[in-house]
Subunit: 454 residues, 2 copies
Amino acid sequence: MKKYDVIVIGAGPAGLVTGITVKKYYSEKSVLILTQEKGGLVPCGIPYIFNKLNSVDADRMGPKSFVDLGGEVIVDTATDVNMDHKVVYGKSGDTYGYEKLVFATGSQPAKAFFIKGHDLENVFYIRKSYQYIQDLYIQLQDKQNIVIVGGGFIGAEVAEQLAVDEKKNVTLIESESQCFSKAFSKELSKIATEQLRHTHVNVLTSSLVKEIRGAKNKVEKVLLQSGEEIPADAVILSVGYKSNTELAVKAGLPLNVMGAIKVDSYERTSVKDVCAVGDCSQTIGFLTGRSDHIMLASTATAEARVLGFNLFGIKIKKNFKGTIAVFSTQINGFTMASAGINENTGKDANVDFLTAEYTDIDRHPGTIPGASPLTVRLNFSPCDGAILGAEVWGSSSAAEIINTLSLAIQKYTTVFELISFQIGTHPLLTGAPTKPVIIKAAEIAIGMLRNVGK
Amino acid sequence: MKKYDVIVIGAGPAGLVTGITVKKYYSEKSVLILTQEKGGLVPCGIPYIFNKLNSVDADRMGPKSFVDLGGEVIVDTATDVNMDHKVVYGKSGDTYGYEKLVFATGSQPAKAFFIKGHDLENVFYIRKSYQYIQDLYIQLQDKQNIVIVGGGFIGAEVAEQLAVDEKKNVTLIESESQCFSKAFSKELSKIATEQLRHTHVNVLTSSLVKEIRGAKNKVEKVLLQSGEEIPADAVILSVGYKSNTELAVKAGLPLNVMGAIKVDSYERTSVKDVCAVGDCSQTIGFLTGRSDHIMLASTATAEARVLGFNLFGIKIKKNFKGTIAVFSTQINGFTMASAGINENTGKDANVDFLTAEYTDIDRHPGTIPGASPLTVRLNFSPCDGAILGAEVWGSSSAAEIINTLSLAIQKYTTVFELISFQIGTHPLLTGAPTKPVIIKAAEIAIGMLRNVGK
């Protein structure tokens, strides 16, 4: 049995970044990544396989950078772990010894057992598997009527991409009154849903699936609770993801209430020398310290960097208490992004906050060809003015502006400080220096907080 | 004589934002802006008048937002100020009384007295005046050979825009070995100069003008020290800007060594109730506290916000010690930006710093149509890893990423902290979560600072 300093189970973003960070900064350590598939997919790129990339191979993500650093990759499925003897058992019959073990087993689509007919032929999920998606990509080519259940990011993005092919009738069914309602505020969810409606997707909100019906075991239609019937040659169920924890549970690791592997701030489980990172491990809210369940590649890789640098002792202090959760997407060419607390997460956790919003053009003067509107919304403490959350939408600049605001949240920045925030502006690239959207929103916030005029 | 609570002299970005902030948050105060021209221009938009906007009026900037808030604007040139009696004298013969006075008199192109022939006909400057630029715009229409002297932002941007018209021969003469060498590092200046060379501009670096020659008082050619002669129907001199301080000096306000009005952190001069803001007032380096001379609309407006909120007593602490100076531009469709210390400003002030750099694609996977390279360079303290400066170039995302880094500088962020920086990523909008350019550059920095592998 070969023994490694580190074994990482899983080659998704969390596993890869853990492996790369360790090999880069602790090059003498031997690191093995065990993976079920030789090459994976860029997870958030999957929706774009169906149109923008128009190829499964264009979305591949492999362990090359890790291997180039001297890391080893073995394609084998870990079937069990003995944490006393520090051994991982592979499906191949091989065993692998470790000094440090990292679970990076990721997540998978939640099965929609509650929907009758979920097991019919041509009912699919968006699995993060090259083989599965390659098969799905081929299967969907000749399907005309496609029904997608679930209007979160994956469901909505897949729907938007499939609907570019005007020969297809794509219907999206969402149980809430708006799509994206978990990540976005009510207002932004509404905007996002409207944008989706401007594409060729038939969006049905506040709609519950009663049953998927078929003939000869093949799907034929989707029945809604309302009685409506939608013809379907294929159904894609996108009703959430759940952590892959089967192996961890079998090994004896405890899970939290959300079904994710319990870890401390440095991704260490309760068992010495065993860590868990990414979608399979717990996240906690940056403000409340309570369990939430954020599954984002960007969150996973931030955790993986913290883990990689600190796997052999804490060297670099983690500078966030929990997960801010920064989401961004583009639907119908319209960009939307959020970070931190919004009215859903905030109300749920009883967080007291106020909201200030400002809209302007993303270039200056507004006569610059191609200039388009951009809105910043700040959610801030009514007490000290600290920024607790933000949303940005409109122009594609929103995707980087949300990161500035994420840093502001992470560094405990108040709306008062933003008055003197020094930014760079340029006619072809940004809004005007006289009214930068972040700062103008902060000014409105200050107006709400203190009567500075007196 | 009408008396105002506040008189602002100047309606550029600094004057306008001061007026707007005061009227918005202290609405009962009467505020007058005195301006020489009824409507001004967006200063940084001026180069784009010559092609992208192809109109002077498209670049107008007026006091509408200020007037809408109840502010008063009078077109009159302030010719003198009596600070004892708190009176401003106008060229019109009118006088204006004030409780608080704000100089926002801006800057103007430095005259190139040292160049023989600078006073010939068809030798121009880039003045921030609607009338002047309208005249220049018309004058340049039928000029074929145009020579621009000075390869800073304004000179280079004007050259790039004029050269889009292929009937024109546009030559840019820069005395340094690269253009943009004041704002950018050697490496980025080189890249910027190369981009400019990819346009139709004939860029002559390390070149000094000996003389501008003409016949019948009209310019005909530019002679270089090298002996080269360049035919010229028009010459634009863009060799820097200087603060407009004539009025302030006449009134008795002291200037600093750079020729700017001396002010404290809240833009207050040494005379009670008299302030100065924007290009006419001093800036000091955020790191050194020494005088520098940054003239940027974005800097001016940040100062104006601080002034506006604090004009009637300090209410909101300014959260920067000095000017970070965030520059951005786009030449030949290639974006370049910088913030804080670079090798020029750093060496000059004897700042010890190290540099780490990372390049990746601005979308993910890199196969996304339109993806292009993006580089982040961090200048950081060799001691504590604090980020002291940054440059970002390539994709247009650079213009917002530099603002994230400006906030990082402003909030005393170290490269160690950036390991756990939580960002949002999306295939159509940003680079990959596995290798965000800011964070990868920080990782390289950490590798240089501490042997974390031991």
